[in-house]
């Protein structure tokens, strides 16, 4: 059982979501986060220069069976490819899980 954590730009979410659905990965969550980028950006506000270093990003969390990890990473990469690609995709181990209303544990709880 693994967890994928991926950082993408907000405008990439519709395409990434479609790509994940196509790969038959239909359980995940998305949150808005602020993240740094390789380059800062200069913006003017009422004539005053401002250095912007945190940008709005979407963080995807997908918990799935080991054999679907490759497929989900590919789907995120594919969905974000047209608009510049995903920031990073991370994979970690998940130790346990519980589905409270059935009492199922571990992989069975997915």
């Amino acid at each position: 059982m693994k967890m994928i954590i991926a950082y993408i730009r907000p405008e990439q979410l519709p395409d990434v979501k479609d790509a994940l659905f196509e790969a038959d990965i239909k359980q995940f969550s998305a949150t808005t986060v602020m993240g740094t980028a390789p380059k800062t950006e200069q913006r003017m506000y009422r004539g005053v220069k401002r250095e912007v270093s945190l940008f709005r990003r979407v963080r995807l969390e997908i918990i799935l069976h080991d054999e679907k990890v490759e497929a989900s990473m590919e789907a995120i990469a594919k969905g974000s490819k047209e608009s510049g690609g995903a920031g990073r995709i991370f994979v970690t181990d998940v130790v346990d899980a519980l589905k409270p209303w059935t009492g199922e544990r571990g992989e069975a709880a997915l």
């Binding site: 907000p10 405008e11 979410l13 519709p14 949150t31 808005t32 913006r43 003017m44 979407v58 608009s83």
Partner: protein, 415 residues
């Protein structure tokens, strides 16, 4: 010259009410777009009014009221040499202001339909042209002694002159630009891109309604006939009410739930529908006109989706379709005893007035459609109409203006 203080006061007060409608348009459009484009659409609302006033001062008034002529007036550029208004006892400056805020209303209708994808600078160019030339030409035909006025075409406060002109210009803009990214699927079925702030939309609609009392009742251009002013006020309260009720009801039946934004569109539709006939119909007529307007606005939205035209705020169903409906309603419900040129079809007057209304609105809208198509085409060739894909995705606020409308707020954006 002897001036009539009450008439002048009424026109100025009504004009100030119409001026405030600009805020209403701004709030409606701001609420119906996504957060990332809010500052951009507000900026367009501010600047199209400023350019409308400028253009109407330099060119517009001269074309609309400068001199007689079937097609357009040709003197009085920069208001030079114009000392008298067409309304007896009212100074020309007051009359100019009343007309200028109407020009601003026509111009700003387009902002909503082209929202979230039209370049800011292209929009500025458009807003000057419509107020300088296109709106004044139609205005001259109908109100400035042009050929439609000679035919006894009756458009009391501007269902055609203001709303359908703005609405058709909006349609041309929306068609030229094409839909927003993600608005239609590959198979042509529509997606939802929901507005971000319905409270603002509701506030905007009531500001518009508030201003509309000046828009319609001020078009008497005087207070000499308090009965007429009072009837217009009553009709301006009635028609939008049935408009909202019927739009809500149809949406409720068709989609299962009463939709706030469609009910509000229905109120605006009723207002546009009653604009032309407000002075020459009774209360029951106003109720029916509003009800039909409310139904039309729902089907207008459906037609636009079927044609894959993307109109984020419903400007075309509200202003174009109901502008035409309101103009035709004069030929159906108008009463000669209340000041219509002829009795309408439903009051024994036959088809004559209806025919004149149909001719007038068709000719005006064809003129606007053709000229606006050319204007948008030229703007597209010189500066480009649409922002880049990247800008559209990031939002026009950041890329065109470098600022966010809701800085510091945690906003979930999905595209």
């Amino acid at each position: 010259m002897e001036f009539n203080a009450i008439d002048t006061l009424w026109i100025i007060m009504a004009a100030i009410l119409v001026f405030f409608m600009q805020a209403g348009f701004g709030m409606v459009e701001a609420g119906l777009v996504r957060t990332k484009n809010t500052a951009n659409v507000l900026m367009k609302n501010v600047l199209d009014f400023c350019f409308a006033v400028l253009a109407y001062f330099i060119f517009g008034y001269a074309i609309m009221y400068g001199s007689e002529g079937a097609f357009a007036g040709t003197s009085g550029w920069f208001m030079m040499g114009i000392t008298e208004s067409p309304v007896e006892g009212v100074p020309v400056e007051a009359f100019w202001f009343f007309q200028a805020v109407f020009a601003g209303a026509a111009a700003t209708i387009v902002a909503g339909a082209v929202a979230e994808r039209m370049k800011f600078v292209a929009y500025l160019a458009y807003s000057f042209v419509i107020s300088a030339v296109i709106y004044p030409v139609v205005g001259h035909w109908v109100w400035g002694g042009g050929w439609l006025a000679d035919l006894n075409f009756h458009d009391f406060a501007g269902s055609t002159v203001v709303h359908a002109v703005g609405g058709v210009a909006a349609l041309m803009g929306a068609i030229r630009l094409g839909p927003r990214i993600g608005r239609f699927n590959k198979d042509g079925s529509p997606n939802v891109i929901s507005g971000h702030n319905l409270p603002l939309v509701m506030l905007g609609v009531f500001i518009l309604w508030f201003g509309w009392f000046g828009f319609n009742a001020g078009s008497t251009l005087g207070f000499g006939d308090p009965v007429s002013v009072s009837r217009i006020i009553m009709n301006t309260a009635l028609a939008p009410s049935t408009g909202a009720i019927f739009a809500m009801a149809i949406a409720w039946i068709k989609y299962g739930k009463p939709d706030l934004s469609l009910a509000l569109n229905g109120a605006l539709a009723g207002l546009v529908g009653i604009t032309a006939p407000c002075a020459v119909v009774g209360g029951v007529d106003a109720l029916i006109i509003g009800a039909v307007a409310g139904i039309l606005v729902i089907y207008g939205n459906i037609w636009l989706n079927a044609w894959r035209v993307d109109d984020p705020v419903g400007a075309v169903p509200v202003h174009a379709i109901n502008g035409i409906w309101g103009t035709l309603a004069v030929g159906l419900f108008g009463k000669a005893s209340l000041g219509a040129p002829l009795d309408g079809l439903f009051y024994g007057g036959g088809f004559e007035q209806l025919g004149i209304q149909a001719l007038g609105t068709t000719a005006s809208l064809l003129f606007v459609a053709v000229t606006m198509w050319i204007v948008f085409k030229v703007i597209d060739m010189i500066i480009g109409m649409r922002v880049s894909r990247e800008t559209e995705l990031r939002g026009l606020d950041l890329d065109e203006h470098g600022q966010e409308s809701y800085s510091g707020f945690q906003i979930f954006t999905t595209e």
